[in-house]
């Protein structure tokens, strides 16, 4: 079965969704990401959906689930690159993705993850004092 590739980028995972996903592919991505967060000790997950011209309730739920599971595993998920027409449609559909952090592009998303990591490292340093 096809899989969406997951790249390691420092201590974050980067996923760029470039195909129109059928439901099993979305479910497989959710499972793959969850296991890779643990095996790579990842602290952040960046999901680039700029190539997606449609996000329906199934893919919306997948994004919500990934964000929730990664939070439990101490990793931050940021969804980046949502197209304006997709955002308008998602809200009208009734999915506002309240549990998902978003950023306009990959650079800003990566900055959000790094900011959080810098913050937690500073906390760790304080603990050692």
């Amino acid at each position: 079965m096809d899989r969406i590739p997951i790249l390691k980028f420092g201590n974050a995972l980067l996923v760029t969704i470039q195909v129109d996903m059928h439901d099993q592919l979305a479910t497989a991505l959710e499972e793959d990401l969850t296991s890779k967060i643990v095996s790579h000790n990842a602290r952040g997950v960046l999901i680039d959906i700029s190539a997606l011209d449609v996000v329906d309730s199934f893919i919306g739920r997948m994004l919500d689930n990934i964000a929730a599971v990664s939070r439990i595993l101490d990793a931050d998920t940021v969804v980046v690159g949502m197209r304006p027409a997709v955002a308008i449609t998602l809200v009208e559909l009734g999915l506002s993705l309240t549990g998902v952090k978003t950023a306009l592009n990959v650079e800003r998303g990566m900055a959000m993850i790094h900011d959080r990591l810098a913050g937690s490292e500073a906390d760790d340093a304080d603990d050692e004092d």
């Binding site: 996903m21 329906d56 309730s57 304006p84 027409a85 559909l93 009734g94």
Partner: protein, 134 residues
Amino acid sequence: MPTTRTERVGIKVSDDVVRVRQITRAFALEVGLSLVDQTKIVTASSELARNTLDYGGGGEVTAEIVEQGGRRGVRLTFDDKGPGIADIEQALKDGFTSGRGMGLGLGGAKRLSNEFSIVSEPGLGTKITIARWK
């Protein structure tokens, strides 16, 4: 209402939901819908195609380009011979689900369309028609 183009797609596996999205997109482009309206009708088609598959046990969609009073639009009719919907009003409510979804499919598809109609007979199947006009 004259129909200028028609295509039928069977909905039997989850790849067919992707095909329904692609045909809806092609028809919406041909009609000249705005990008936001294209996205809305394609998203609605995805929700309804998944419902046909998950709850109707599979079926088919008829996609049409229709004309009425000088306006063009995309009309989609989803047909299944599944168990039917006993309480349509309840099924249209957000959050109502009998399956694995979020329960946004039917109500969401209605909000994303200009026209929405549903005919369902318990034990015989469900027919849902939506349209989006330019």
